[in-house]
Amino acid sequence: MLDIVWLIPALPLAGFALILLFGRRLGDPKAGYLATLMCGGAFVVTVGVFFDLLSKSAEERQHISKVFSWVPVGSLKVDLAFLADPLSITMCLFVTGIGTLIHLYAIGYMHGDPRFSKFFLYLNLFALSMLVLVLGENMLVTFLGWEGVGTCSYLLIAFWHERESAATAGKKAFITNRVGDWGFMMAMFFAFQATGTLSYLGVNAAASTMAQSTATAIALFAFIGAVGKSAQLPLYLWLPDAMEGPTPVSALIHAATMVTAGVFLMCRMSPILNAASSYAPTLIAVVGAATALFAATIAVAQNDIKRVLAYSTVSQLGYMFLAVGSGAYTAAIFHMVTHAFFKALLFLGSGAVIHGMNHEQDMRRMGALRKVMPVTAATFIVGWLAIAGVPPFAGFWSKDDILLAAYDKSPVLWAVGLVTALLTAYYMTRQVIMVFYGEARWHDAHAEHGAHGDFKPHESPSIMLLPLVLLAGLSIVGGGLNLPFNAHTEKLTQWLEPVLGVHESETSKVPLAVIATIVALVGIAASVMIYAKHRAKPIEPKILADGWYYDETVSRFMGGPGRKAFGALAWYDATVIDGAVNGVGRLVRDTAQRIRTVQSGNVRNYAAAIGVGVVLLLAWFVVVRGSR
């Protein structure tokens, strides 16, 4: 079964090719079904591979299937090969699994869109790239997928490219990612110079022997890449704007897959990270914690249903990096998985809401929707509880692991994480209340809209609800993957142990868990007090709503000084450098014009010129050469 790992990416590829060729003919919805089928197929294959691995002993849970030699030049030998091991298969499982669900959902969501088939074309391409990314046997193959998902996100975010905002968002996403890619490339170069190979196994194996400085360099540059991809400070900018894309895209890219690529990469290269000097992981942890808190504070004041989720994603990713930085890779992966479940759920839910509200995204125009769209509401609430960290929902367990690790790293980080948890609970509650509870604010909404007669939010078609339900289920039981009661229940840890090792911790877990739970509840309570019971005025300062003006500042800099500088250089090129060239020409002309006056047409002047020449020659010969 292991030998068919290549089939996992191959199926979406086939889907891509087929839709590329026949997409228009298949049309809506057949193309969608095809795409979903392919992604589902990939999932099935993955499951097969998974069990095959499971059947092996921990040591030999590792299989490389080489497709062909890709870039062989001199000492650089890069194969297009896939590495099937617990980590990559874990990733594959939820990428394909959740991917399939999202495909399915999208069939309903994108129904009637003029570019329906193209959407699925992109989706499959995305799935393909993502799978290549996670299955990559070496950094370059990963980079192939890495850039692939970047490109796809560009295409998908800018899917409704007639909207300026969408187009810009897509461009922004791509370019910001590119900044990260630069880091990734550097990491590869350092790795190659240090080890002469790019395959993870090779590099990781050499980690123990290589110079610590090199390891640090690799780790940090890779982290830059991760920061770009996983939207950490300072490169998170693109993610909130990326909400311009269709909701399934948001779910796919932000919740489940792409953004987690960074975390995956760090885990993939964990040996290097361990070999690096200590400040590297600390830096990662700090960045993670900072991002988590920062994003959470912003999420508190957002009114766009999707932007809230976007910032929460950033925040949750911060958690994962906090884990990575604390050396708890398993925890990071664990949270990645659970987060994939509930965040995908939330996004799809919000999508359903938006769908039902005729593309209304402002939560201030919603409210009391649980009546009109019960299923959506129910599932959404599950997601809410999960992310808020209420036991026994999935989020609670994974977040708990991370906080534990953070505590071992440093209580400060733990505290930050805790505050973030509080805020998370708070703003998620706020969202749920604003959308599904309170009085309906959408009746008057359509008055302003005035668009379509009596406007009534409606529940989404079952094809969209099915994924919601499934994801909701997962969000409830997801925690079961890695229950911290005893070594036996920590299934995921054991499973990933050969790749990521274990994070030993002697801190007693229970008190921390209790504190975390309390904090979550406090957050929920506060939110309820404010938004449901209206006991206090909402605290939504503009600065938070505007994300600490960070985005504005950056874009103002880019549009202002940055652009001016570029303009200056262009001016320099046109004026100075090109001017120099033309200047030479002008110089020649002017000199000629000056000499021309001698060419006066008068014989006697010519004679005089000759005479002068004579005297000069005579002087040279008689005086200079003659007087010896």
Partner: protein, 104 residues
């Protein structure tokens, strides 16, 4: 050495002076005819030095040369005058300075 008979150097010096005068003449005179005369002066100066040198060398070749030069001079004068006539027929009293249509 007071009543010294002039050595060839004296002649050469004299010739040089004559030549110089001729040169100056070509540069300062505007009447083409007179410019032509000045050229004749220069040629005569050369002839003079030729003769002096042939004397000094005791070689007749110099004198033969002078003979040729005279022929050349004659020919030049004839042709020159021909051209001048052709021009002055059209533009009486034209001076060298007036003939400056072609320039730049």
């Amino acid at each position: 050495m007071i009543a010294a008979s002039p050595t060839s150097t004296w002649y050469l010096v004299l010739a040089a002076v004559l030549f110089g005068i001729g040169t100056v003449g070509v540069l300062v005179r505007r009447n083409p005819l007179i410019m032509l005369m000045c050229v004749e002066l220069m040629l005569n100066a050369v002839n003079l030095s030729f003769v002096a040198l042939s004397k000094k060398l005791g070689d007749i070749g110099g004198q033969t040369t002078v003979f040729f030069v005279m022929v050349v001079a004659a020919a030049e004068v004839v042709v020159g005058l021909g051209i001048i006539v052709a021009i002055l027929r059209r533009r009486p009293n034209a001076t060298a300075d007036d003939l400056a249509e072609l320039k730049g």
